[in-house]
Symmetry: C2
Subunit: 163 residues, 2 copies
């Protein structure tokens, strides 16, 4: 037989995945009027971290760097961001929001914040703090456990030149 409210018995990672799916589904609804339908978290991140390199976005948001190339290309195409070579380290590209991108991103940030407020409403502040502490600690613990190297470049190139 099948429980209807099984959520609380699920593993931590599964709970987190479901929470994020529900969250982004609600957020997308709130942001239907915006041109972009995704990449909200990247724009959110860029607003606070102007002139970031692509790799820094990847590291902070756990997104693969080959996926990031396409995302940035798309955001450049629709005029949300600009790409400038770092003259001090010509491998790096600084990513910056354009005026248009910044305007749209302000709305995105507002939606993120209002949704977070909805979720924190009626929740005692000490519980909010503990929730944040715990989720941060868990992510930082996980970063130090052996993983399939999905997002980070931990010596991916040890098998040099295949021949």
């Amino acid at each position: 037989m099948c429980n209807t409210e099984y959520y609380s018995q699920l593993p931590i990672g599964t709970k987190a995945l479901i929470l994020s799916k529900l969250y982004y589904s609600v957020l997308s609804k709130k942001l239907e009027s915006i041109e972009v339908e995704r990449y909200y978290s990247i724009l959110f991140f860029l607003k606070d971290n102007e002139g970031c390199s692509q790799q820094q976005i990847c590291n902070n948001l756990a997104i693969d760097k080959t996926a990031m190339v396409k995302i940035i290309d798309y955001l450049v195409k629709i005029g949300y961001v600009r790409k400038n070579i770092n003259l001090k380290n010509r491998r790096e590209h600084f990513i910056e929001l354009t005026k248009k991108g910044l305007n749209q991103t302000k709305q995105i940030v507002k939606s993120f914040n209002s949704l977070d407020e909805d979720l924190y409403r009626d929740l005692p502040v000490n519980k909010q703090i503990i929730f944040n502490e715990v989720i941060c600690e868990m992510s930082s613990k996980l970063k130090n456990l052996p993983a399939t190297d999905l997002f980070f470049d931990y010596k991916k190139t040890q098998k040099t030149n295949k021949k």
Copy 2:
């Protein structure tokens, strides 16, 4: 300029998404010896909910039902699950683990549990409880907010017969 530890300032949904990515990346590493490389949460769910319908899995794990068809087909093909028509409601298919599937799932459950234990270790029990309360409450709140109907079939067919 770019912070290296920006995580704590991210929105709730983004934190949850990153946590789940890190979690599954570590879990996959632990389960490298297992034949399947994904669908761990579905097998975990089935172990406690034998004879579930596909729709019930979808509702509980927030997975789209068209994706579920392919996943179940695959799990049937590799001999992990069985599909039986519910004779009391012939639209429904009961999904059950086979002996092989159950054996593999036991290892999967073990890995989930040991990873959760790692994450809870050194964390006071009251914080563990609050974390779970909060994450459950948030998911249940989100289910009651307007969303793009990704996973659930809330009157998707209101625009009848297109003509």
